[in-house]
């Protein structure tokens, strides 16, 4: 793929990125948006449809009240105003996955609007303004067949499954996000991650990006430094993980910067993200789609009473910002320490580990250092590691009790991750416990002293720091199964 990309730092030296993020959340209602078909993933094709979601001639939609409730709660959690009166609208366009060849959505009357959330990214706070959150229905699923790639470009024909048609969606749209500078891709990732956590805490969606219940379209444009007008933006789709959000935006920034730096113009277009690490343009359109929006005549307006809205506000869980502040206080973390935890995506894990009995600092240490490293190495999310908060707490308890030291603890983690059982079981089966037999320890210390007379001399002379080398030898001898502090004591005592 020989497309020019400018070095990231060079790009950011010349341009300011402006982001726009559109996130679709698939609601976890029992039934679909406008009919009683089950709202579920993974069934045999075309077994979860009815005249309404198939858009059969004569069918009519009826709004799922639970979906409205979820949409309002999402809006409230995003600090939005909730419309006193709003309507659904038809967005008219033809596509084979659209059973009516219009989507019932909301146009100029979204149910929630003018909200905001604060994001902490690497110690910096960014306020993201939410333009709107509105309700709409999903389309069916297309599979492209008869070609070699499974992509639309070389397909001979396509196959449609309408099970997903009519699934309730809430689309959340940000206002243009400026002032992120070089952190733009991280801010975007943090935003999507935040929304994911929020939806989980609200209980309104599974938000699994790999299953499509959380989707992100990433828009970015570049402004030359000092300019006041936004540049033309591209919209990148097929961004199916948090990592992809960051990578896709990084790439697009570099690509657009290359285009602009060489005197070219960025095409306002939709692009497709490829996991290999680049974007390609969609089919270029001669004219922008004209969706001919008009109010949906088959549905009547939605006018949530203020009493109902307040009732729903009372059902909101503690919102992430407030929860974080509370936990920080409870744990006694500094801002930086809390930031570490949040950045690592470990807040819930730390909380659970503390709840299982570990000290906050210990929990923080394990999740943000050793375990985060391993998650990175194996390319999984922290929560996807095969070790539970309870097990981490158990491990720390073993360290506190002196049964294992830090180094041994890491080996214990190896064992737990490999599925060998709980920390205590791994210690036992691998024989990792710190040796407490004073005789064996004493003998090892004697041996080390004997093997290193010059070092021993220096220690006798008062250079206690030199003890480190001897400690190292003893530990090697003991295969790490000794308490380093105890070893040091013994050495100094013997050489006093």
């Amino acid at each position: 793929m020989s497309v020019d990309v400018l070095d990231y730092d060079e790009a950011l030296a010349a341009f300011d990125p402006v982001l726009g993020l559109e996130v679709h959340v698939e609601l976890n209602t029992a039934s679909k948006m406008f009919c009683g078909c089950v709202n579920a993933f993974g069934a045999e094709p075309n077994t979860q449809t009815c005249p309404v979601c198939l858009g059969l001639p004569g069918s009519l939609p009826v709004v799922n009240g639970k979906a409205i409730e979820s949409a309002i709660r999402i809006g409230l959690a995003l600090n939005c105003s909730i419309a006193e009166w709003c309507r659904f609208a038809r967005k008219n366009y033809f596509y084979p996955d659209m059973t009516k060849d219009f989507q019932t959505s909301q146009y100029d009357e979204p149910i929630a609007y003018d909200g905001w959330i604060d994001l902490d990214v690497d110690g910096e706070t960014f306020r993201i303004e939410i333009e709107r959150a509105h309700m709409e229905e999903d389309a069916g699923k297309l599979v492209h067949a008869g070609g070699s790639t499974g992509r639309i470009g070389d397909a001979a024909y396509s196959l449609v499954d309408y099970n997903r048609a009519g699934t309730p969606l809430v689309e959340i749209v940000t206002r243009p996000i400026t002032g992120t500078g070089a952190k733009a891709p991280q801010v975007a990732k943090a935003y999507v991650s935040f929304l994911r956590d929020l939806m989980l805490s609200l209980g309104v969606s599974d938000v699994r990006m790999e299953q499509g219940s959380l989707r992100c379209d990433a828009n970015v444009s570049l402004m030359p430094k000092g300019a006041t007008e936004f540049g033309l933006r591209t919209e990148t789709k097929n961004v199916n993980s948090l990592r992809s959000v960051e990578r896709a935006l990084t790439y697009e920034i570099q690509r657009q910067a290359a285009v602009l730096s060489s005197g070219g113009k960025v095409h306002q277009e939709t692009r497709h993200w490829h996991e290999e690490g680049y974007t390609t343009p969609g089919r270029s359109k001669e004219q922008a789609e004209d969706y001919r929006y008009f109010p949906e005549p088959d549905l009547v307006p939605v006018a949530p009473s203020r009493e109902w809205v307040e009732e729903l506000r009372g059902t909101l869980p503690e919102l992430p910002n407030l929860r974080r502040a509370r936990l920080q206080g409870e744990w006694g973390f500094t801002d930086l320490e809390l930031q570490d935890v949040v950045n690592a995506g470990a807040l819930d894990l730390v909380a659970a580990t503390v709840a299982a009995g570990a000290s906050p600092q210990a929990a923080r240490k394990w999740w943000t250092t050793e375990l985060a490293r391993r998650a990175n190495e194996t390319g999984v999310e922290l929560a996807g590691l095969a070790i539970t908060p309870a097990q981490v707490a158990e491990l720390q308890a073993l360290v506190d009790a002196g049964t294992v030291n830090d180094k041994l603890a890491r080996q214990v983690i190896d064992g737990v991750l490999a599925g060998e059982g709980s920390p205590a079981a791994v210690v036992a089966s691998r024989g990792l416990a710190v040796v407490s037999d004073a005789g064996a320890l004493s003998a090892a210390v004697d041996a080390a002293i004997a093997a290193n007379p010059d070092v021993a001399e220096r220690i006798r002379a008062g250079k206690v720091q030199a003890a480190g080398a001897l400690i190292g030898e003893v530990m090697k001898q003991m295969r790490g199964q000794a308490d380093a502090g105890r070893v040091r004591e013994l050495i100094l005592a013997k050489l006093a």
Partner: protein, 508 residues
């Protein structure tokens, strides 16, 4: 006594008494269809076996001592816009030729539950767009009064079936006059209930905010009986009214209009109105006055803009409602040769499957909704709608009902207006305002025009949810006219030379 010329009410009594069996009644009508429909061409589809089976089922239930409703065993002709399993629903269009829906409309189900015997599906202008059935993708229906003339539209098939004595009851939909105008030109009764009073679930959508399913019959009481079975709240239709159905049957039986205030709409008359039509209209007014009603003139100035607003709102909704006919899931598919793309197949199929009027309206609607034009066209039309509703509200503040001729002329000849869309649209001048405002309206036969001997319809309009007033006034007029004529208007057709081919003459 004749089965074919009996009213549904009479048949109901004779079925209840055991004098007739439902099978006899069904068979008689199937025979009539067989005998005359080659000429009248009211039906797109007839299922004799199914009808007889339904009739037999009613007879069995009655024999078992079950208490049956008033319409059990009564045959009915169904406009081909209502879905019904086990039969095709085409909406008069080639694009849906042969489509068999997997579900029943709410109204279809209510009729089946009431023991009504559906004889078949009747012809209509394609997707309800038209005033003559000349836009049907299959053939044009002929007015039983004069086979060279149109039976009205879009529900011409249902009205013709009634006037040809092929069925005592029929149902249709009225979006701009598609029940009332055919009723007017065929000498039958056609009612547009209050919008939302009858469920649209399973009724193929034309203009969603205007479409209203309604009853068609040869008498006011028959229409009332059918209305009360059809109407009622439906949770599957979000625009359905959750309120009790007005006592239309009681009103039809009463017909007492003493003290009622009747408003004559000034804007519905004069230039463009056939003199014979206006004459019969005035005579009917005099009758109502004689029965104790007070007649006043009422001006509804914005009614002059109704046609324009309608021909913007309706095509806009049509262009969106008809988008689903895209060759992907059902219906016609043309051009799928392994080379053409989906876009091309959609284009080719819709180009071939839709008729000229459908295309015209889809294009107008697409234009009216498109960016840059929305405010001037669709947006403005929706404002005119508000103004028309206000005119009605003001008028109904002064009077109980408004009246007018149903349509400016009697039945025109086949082919006469087909190349002049605007002339065709004018047939709906008087009917359209009620669709825009959502109130109820009906057409009652009020005589034959002296200039051409063809039926004239008298339109009654009432406020939303006051459907009973239509039947009260309609019954009063019908009763008085029947006593003057010695029978109904269609009895005249039956016993005239022009109606000899119907072979029902004279036997009452």
């Amino acid at each position: 006594m004749s089965i074919l010329t009996a009213s549904a009410a009479e048949l109901s009594a004779r079925l209840a008494s055991g004098e007739l069996s439902a099978r006899e009644v069904a068979q008689a009508h199937l025979d009539q269809i067989e005998a005359v429909d080659d000429r009248v061409k009211a039906f797109l589809y007839v299922d004799g076996e199914r009808a007889l089976a339904a009739a037999d089922a009613v007879d069995a239930r009655r024999a078992a001592g079950e208490q049956l409703g008033p319409l059990a065993g009564i045959p009915l002709a169904m406009k081909d816009i209502f879905t019904m399993t086990g039969a095709p629903t085409t909406c008069g269009s080639r694009i849906l030729e042969g489509w068999r829906p997997p579900y029943n409309s709410t109204i279809t189900q209510k009729l089946i539950d009431a023991g009504v015997v559906v004889l078949g599906k009747t012809n209509m202008d394609e997707f309800a767009m038209g005033s003559s059935t000349e836009n049907s993708g299959f053939f044009t229906t002929h007015n039983p009064w004069d086979n060279t003339r149109i039976p009205g539209g879009s529900g011409g098939g249902s009205a013709a079936a009634l006037a040809a004595f092929e069925a005592p009851l029929a149902i249709g939909t009225d979006t701009g006059g598609s029940i009332r105008q055919p009723a007017s030109v065929t000498g039958t009764v056609g009612v547009k209930p209050t919008y939302g009073g009858t469920s649209r679930y399973g009724v193929v959508a034309m203009a969603s905010s205007l479409d209203t399913p309604g009853p068609c019959a040869r008498s006011v009481l028959d229409a009332a009986l059918l209305h009360s079975v059809m109407a009622g709240w439906d949770p599957r239709d979000s625009t359905s009214i959750n309120a009790p159905v007005p006592d239309v049957v009681g009103a039809a039986r009463s017909g007492d209009i003493a003290g009622m205030r009747i408003g004559v709409v000034t804007e519905f008359g004069g230039e463009g109105y056939q003199p014979g039509v206006e004459q019969r209209f005035r005579e009917a007014l005099a009758i109502l006055e004689g029965l104790g009603a007070e007649i006043v003139e009422v001006s509804c100035p914005h009614f002059d803009y109704a046609l324009a607003a309608y021909y913007l709102i309706m095509p806009s909704e049509v262009s969106s409602n008809l988008a689903r006919f895209d060759a992907m899931r059902y219906g016609l598919r043309i051009g799928d040769d392994g080379q053409h793309s989906t876009e091309e197949v959609m284009n080719l199929t819709r180009g071939a499957g839709f008729g000229a009027e459908a295309k015209r309206r889809i294009i107008i609607g697409t234009y009216a909704l498109s960016s840059g034009y929305y405010d001037a066209y669709y947006g403005s039309a929706q404002k005119v709608r508000t103004l028309i509703t206000r005119d009605f509200d003001a008028a109904f503040g002064q009077v109980d009902v408004l009246v007018s001729p149903t349509t400016p002329t009697t039945a025109f000849t086949i082919g006469e207006r087909v190349d002049d869309p605007l002339a065709m649209y004018k047939a709906d001048l008087c009917t359209i305002p009620s669709n825009l405002a959502g109130n109820c309206a009906a057409s009652i036969p009020c005589g034959l025009s002296p200039d051409d001997g063809l039926p004239v319809g008298f339109q009654v309009m009432a406020p939303p949810l006051a459907d009973d007033r239509l039947y009260r006034v309609g019954a009063a007029l019908e009763r008085e006219l029947a006593s003057r004529w010695g029978g109904g208007l269609l009895d005249g057709l039956a016993s005239s030379p022009a109606g000899a081919y119907l072979n029902v003459g004279g036997v009452r």
